[in-house]
Amino acid sequence: MRIVEKTQLMSAPEIDRTLQRLAHEIVEKTGGTKHLALIGIVRRGVPLAQRIAQAMRGIDGVEVPVGTLDITLYRDDLSKVAPQAVLRSSDIPFGVDDMDLVLVDDVLYTGRTIRAAMNGIFDLGRPKRVSLCVLIERGHREMPIEAQFIGRSVQTSDSEIIEVRLREIDKEERVVLVDRVE
């Protein structure tokens, strides 16, 4: 089986503009940044959350706290097929009680990651509201989970994979649609 690149979905400037728009949308819909905090899901949700927080600084001059969450310990499939998973640190340096939390991830697909992330969050306390912000939404949900803030929705088939490549992790910056072919 080979993996072939089918098309580029977003360029670096497009990613940047989209994150700017998402920052505006979040501030607008939340009605202020007082109790707002972002939680990036390890790994690519983390740089995205940091960039959105930076964009918010430009809007309001406000510092929105950013946490990181590794969902590995909350997965529902560890015992079945997971390899010896490498854990990364979660770091949520603020109390989540009564906060307006926005989970940030790169791609929303089955929804299982978000289910796991919510379990992780609720071990820390009781936020007032939890919403979800993703760069790409691609359908094929297996959980009753939707995103409130979406960078771009893409129609995909099951065999396709969306790769979000970010300069902080991948040394390049673009979103591509790849396919598995026999």
Partner: protein, 340 residues
């Protein structure tokens, strides 16, 4: 299939990279100790068998707590209550436990090599929680984690170990771990507890020297590991308590010979006023309670690693990042999708 961590029997065969990996994996579990809700469901439905063929309170409670905080159940076997007293062999006992289908066996035994022997006969992962005078790997890991947290590094430190070295599996696990990071060891205690062959237990190149004056042994130390006088492992007449205090007790005056920020570690249980004075045990340099807290994090990491799933074929758990072609977004990594 490459199985990097099938069991954890000893630290001696592990590389510096593998040891660093295990320490790094303990970090997320240290964070969980600070959560208001400390219980995870990660290993829900799994069972950890705790077989302590030798008395233990803190290690057994620590492994038991680690298992329950991961959501696993435990089955307990303790020496007094077990059929060992009725003449059953070790192998029969562990086969009986194994027939109750646990997912992991944590065992302590008075004989060196017992955990290794059992691991050869069982399919499930085995964690050595102390075997005779051989090793106590989870203690070595939690000591290193405590040192790394306080000093920022475990490299090239001067480590002084005081007390009954001869019978100490804790000392051996510490030497095997810290020795891989360039630490130098000074062993000090009554001569019969610090035999010359101890100088050769490290890997080639590891500096281990014996010193019989405690003042000299503490000179320039970054870390002082105080061992308990293990009356249960001594079969010959030994030193009187008074003489031990006089010659080898760690008190604050002697500790001043070490570096000003030197750490004091003790695996417990402590005999205050014997091998250590209360002012040192409760002083700012003492890490005794951090060691206990870190013990749970290290043991959670070990149980998680060994029970959560078989190692991926060909993949090394140390791989910092998968090659780009295997890399998918977090959501897409979900194997329930990949398996379809």
């Amino acid at each position: 299939m490459t199985q990097r961590f099938r069991d954890l029997l000893a630290l001696e065969p592990l590389s510096a990279d593998e040891l660093t990996f295990l320490l790094d994996q303990s970090k997320p579990f240290q964070e969980i100790q600070r959560h208001p809700l400390k219980k995870l469901a990660t290993l829900r439905g799994k069972t950890v068998a705790l077989a302590f063929f030798e008395n233990s309170t803190r290690t057994r409670i620590s492994f038991g707590t680690a298992a329950s905080r991961l959501g696993a159940d435990t089955m307990n076997l303790q020496a007094e209550a077990s059929s060992l007293k009725k003449g059953e062999s070790l192998l029969d006992t562990v086969h009986t436990l194994d027939a109750m289908k646990p997912d992991c066996l944590v065992m302590r035994h008075a004989s060196s090599g017992a955990a290794d022997f059992v691991a050869q006969h069982l399919e499930i992962p085995v964690i050595n929680a102390g075997d005779g005078t051989h090793e106590h790997p989870s203690q070595g890991l939690l000591d290193a984690l405590t040192i790394r947290d306080r000093l920022g590094t475990i490299e090239n430190l001067n480590v002084t170990i005081l007390g009954d070295l001869q019978h100490s599996r804790v000392a051996r696990s510490n030497i095997h771990l810290l020795g891989k990071f360039g630490c130098k060891f000074t062993l000090c205690g009554p001569a019969m507890w610090v035999p010359p062959e101890l100088e050769k237990i490290g890997a080639p190149g590891v500096s281990i020297r014996r010193v019989f004056r405690i003042e000299e042994a503490l000179e320039g130390a970054d870390v002082v590991l105080v061992l308990r006088v293990q009356t249960e492992r001594q079969y010959e007449p030994s030193i009187s308590a008074e003489d031990y205090v006089l010659g080898y007790q760690l008190n604050s005056e002697r500790l001043r010979r070490a570096k000003p920020n030197a750490l004091v570690l003790h695996p417990g249980p402590m005999n205050r006023g014997n091998e250590i004075t209360p002012e040192v045990a409760d002083g700012p340099q003492s890490c005794v309670l951090e060691q206990v807290t870190n013990g749970i994090a290290v043991r959670m990491a070990l149980l998680f690693l060994l029970i959560s799933g078989p190692p991926e074929e060909g993949a090394h758990p140390l791989a910092e990042a998968l090659p780009a072609k295997n890399r998918r977004s977090t959501d897409q990594k979900d194997p329930s999708h990949a398996a379809r």
